[in-house]
């Protein structure tokens, strides 16, 4: 008897937790791997992450390969800068893709590939920040309004009703009139607007099913405080669902940013939406020129669509892990 208790004590708690977690992770990973679509989404996201990370190398390498011979130009011009770059060796911008500019240049003589690469990490930051804020707010409010009920519940549910009434794009357009919508502020506003909206209702419904389970009663009877129960017992159980909603919200945030930039309402120096806005406002997306100047919109548009759908695919894959009713029998 004594031996047994000693062996239990000897193994530290975190090790057991880690082992349990690893086991869970392996099981879910096996489920996840069955979904080809989710794997596709994940690999696209990884591709974009790598694509964004290697950006700083691109201007340096290109400049050293193509501009080394001309020493004066090498020191005065920054042809691969995504914002202020200009290539003086090419006479008419926008120029089609060539060896020097793999995706051509835009009407201002900036390198398109450089702009696309430069924007990638920013889109990630925007999407993930917005989604994280949404999920943190939604999870905490959903869990606590399910746990406390009564006034707290009524207040937050009615608040969600009001927030859901606002068409988010229309409100962001109004906000752009008196707030400088920089990348971080935009993420904050999108996150907060979405966080108090429908996500709280979904997560509250999930939290209600957790609340009636016996371990909550057990925790209460051992004298756990409300905050402890919410943080340690309810939230971990609704976390998978919130994670799923986070993936879907990343898509929404990136799309919203792109639309606002496209309409010229956001205050962002460079993003995929800005690239298309640039092409559109200087008249290259009208009539037949859209086919001629394809490099001005195809790369940025494809990037927006690919990254948005990648997060959505990942979310769909996760949905089957979170929601066992959707699994194959």
């Amino acid at each position: 008897m004594t031996e047994q208790s000693e062996t239990i004590v000897q193994e530290p708690l975190w090790k057991i937790k880690l082992r349990l977690w690893l086991k869970e992770f392996k099981r879910n990973w096996a489920l996840f791997r069955e979904r080809k679509i989710a794997i596709f989404g994940l690999s696209v996201i990884i591709f974009f992450a790598v694509f964004g990370i290697i950006y700083p190398l691109y201007p340096t390498i290109m400049k050293n390969v193509f501009w080394k011979d001309d020493i004066i130009s090498y020191e005065t011009f920054t042809p691969y800068d995504p914002i202020i770059g200009f290539d003086p060796n090419i006479f008419d911008h926008p120029s089609p893709p060539s060896l020097v500019h793999p995706l051509g240049t835009d009407p201002l003589g900036r390198d398109v590939l450089s702009m696309v690469m430069y924007s990638t990490p920013r889109e990630f930051v925007l999407g993930i920040t917005a989604a994280l804020i949404t999920v943190v707010i939604g999870t905490i409010i959903g869990a606590s309004s399910a746990y406390y009920g009564g006034v707290v519940d009524t207040f937050f549910m009615r608040l969600a009703d009001i927030v859901m009434l606002f068409p988010s794009l229309a409100i962001l357009m109004v906000l752009s009139a008196f707030i400088e919508l920089t990348l971080f502020r935009l993420a904050l506003i999108i996150g907060i607007l979405a966080g108090f909206g429908s996500i709280t209702i979904v997560l509250k419904a999930q939290a209600l099913t957790v609340k009636v389970r016996p371990f909550i009663e057990a925790a209460k009877s051992t004298g756990a405080s409300d905050a402890y129960i919410i943080l340690k017992h309810i939230i971990p159980n609704i976390l998978p669902l919130s994670f799923l909603y986070m993936m879907l919200n990343v898509t929404g945030a990136i799309f919203t940013e792109a639309v606002l930039s496209f309409l010229g309402l956001a205050n962002i120096r460079m993003s995929w939406g800005v690239i298309i806005h640039m092409a559109e406002s200087s008249g290259y997306l009208m009539g037949s020129s859209i086919g001629t100047y394809w490099w001005l919109w195809v790369p940025a548009g494809a990037c927006i669509t690919l990254l948005c759908s990648a997060f959505y695919f990942l979310g769909r894959g996760l949905e089957e892990i979170v929601n066992p009713r959707l699994r194959k029998r």
Binding site: K36, I37, R158, D161, I162, M164, L165, F166, P167, S168, L169, A170, I171, M173, V174, L175, A177, F178, T251, F255, A258, V259, F262, L263, I276, E280, L285, G287, S288, I290, G291, W297, G301, I304, T305, C308, S309, Y312, F313, R316, R325, L326, K328, R329
Partner: protein, 383 residues
């Protein structure tokens, strides 16, 4: 039931007032005002500007104006637009509402019918090629950058294939010879579409009563063909046919783009509910009885999976303004979404507030209707 709905209506009224208040103060917080636009205009002297401000009530403190607005709002008066001066906001909205409604109701209907059929089949043959392609293509279009899709479609169908007009609502060359108003023709077209919808619904209800599949199909097809040919004959005999056709041709591209963009939403909802329904015992029973596969799918499974789709449909109808901004701007379609963007650019505050409030009422009504439909369609739900 009655208690639930009276409670719900009281809730809606309170929500609406809070919503109007927030919208009002949000607009009030915007810097500058309508008269500031004329600051640099030498023809408009400071006196005129003061008079203008006085006329629009901009000289009074904001809170007084808010009280005035609420008083007028109670009388269902949304005020007078600044940029279209003597016109009332409500008349502007009702002038543009039919266009947006027609465009979006058509697009939503088409995409939900497509989504229902695809979702049903995808779930029934789960993991097969149709399921995989439909999900993949659907999600790609669902997350595509909508302005770009619009531009691409305009380019493909308008410039390269030259079969559809690029944008706008009407082609001026066609309308030059006549003194008909486009709005008039458009309203007639809307009425025609509505009658067609009603006839189709009645024929569908009749079709339920008939026993064989062939008879059902004949009834539906016959009524569709008869209504269509009658309306075509009516249009051509009055000589208004070209004008109606002109408007319809201008509608095809936006409807196509919107359908492509949004069919996946309904398809995925249908697929997911269908996957849950397929496991129910009564589906297994129906299969065990030896019923044909299609009958089990359409009658036993799909009908029970329809509920979330219908409520989704009603709620999505409420959100026409927000989705309308992008599409209507890209296709220069003079509807509510474009009016919103124009009002925002010219700081026409009453019109802005009016449009947002109007959508708010629309969305709230849609939620109420969704609740009623839920109780009506699912006998297990009782309020």
């Amino acid at each position: 039931m009655l208690k639930f709905f009276s409670k719900r209506i009281v809730q809606i009224v309170i929500l609406l007032f809070i919503y109007v208040t927030i919208v009002y103060w949000l607009m009030e917080a915007m810097p500058g005002s309508f008269t500031d636009k004329y600051l640099m205009n030498p023809k408009i002297t400071p006196e005129i500007r003061q008079n203008l401000a006085k006329q629009f009530g901009l000289d009074k403190p904001a809170f007084t104006r808010y009280l005035y607005y609420m008083k007028n709002f109670l009388k269902l008066d949304l005020g007078i637009s600044f940029s279209y001066f003597p016109k009332k906001v409500s008349s502007l909205i009702f002038e543009r509402l039919p266009r947006t409604v027609f465009l979006f109701v058509t697009a939503t209907l088409v995409s939900y019918i497509l989504g229902y059929n695809l979702g049903k089949r995808a779930a029934w043959r789960r993991g097969k090629i149709l399921d995989k392609t439909a999900t993949f293509v659907g999600i790609v279009f669902w997350t595509i950058f909508l302005p770009l899709l619009a531009i691409f479609n305009i380019w493909l169908f308008g410039v390269i294939l030259k079969i559809l007009p690029l944008n706008q609502f009407i082609n001026p060359n066609v309308w030059r010879e006549t003194n008909l108003s486009a709005q008039n023709i458009f309203l007639k077209l809307l009425l025609n579409a509505f009658i067609f919808l009603v006839v189709m619904m009645i024929s569908l209800i009749f079709a339920q009563r008939v026993k064989t599949v062939a008879a059902k199909r004949t009834i539906v097809l016959l009524s569709a063909v008869v209504t269509l040919s009658v309306s075509i004959i009516l249009w051509t005999s009055t000589g208004l046919g070209i004008y109606a056709l002109d408007i319809i041709l201008h509608m095809v591209l936006p409807v196509f783009t919107l359908t492509l963009y949004s069919f996946a939403g309904s398809m995925l909802v249908m697929r997911d509910t269908m996957l849950e329904v397929v496991r129910e015992d009564y589906v297994v029973t129906a299969k065990a009885k030896g019923l044909p596969d299609r009958v089990v799918r359409d009658k036993h499974a799909a009908r029970n999976a329809l509920l979330p789709l219908i409520t989704n449909f009603v709620i999505s109808l409420g959100f026409t303004l927000s989705g309308g901004i992008i599409t209507e701007t890209m296709f220069s379609w003079p509807g509510l979404g474009r009016a919103y963007l124009e009002a925002l650019n010219s700081q026409d505050t009453p019109l802005l507030i009016g449009l947002l409030v109007f959508t708010g009422i629309f969305v709230l009504l849609a939620h109420l209707i969704a609740d009623v439909l839920y109780a009506f369609l699912d006998p297990r739900i009782r309020y």
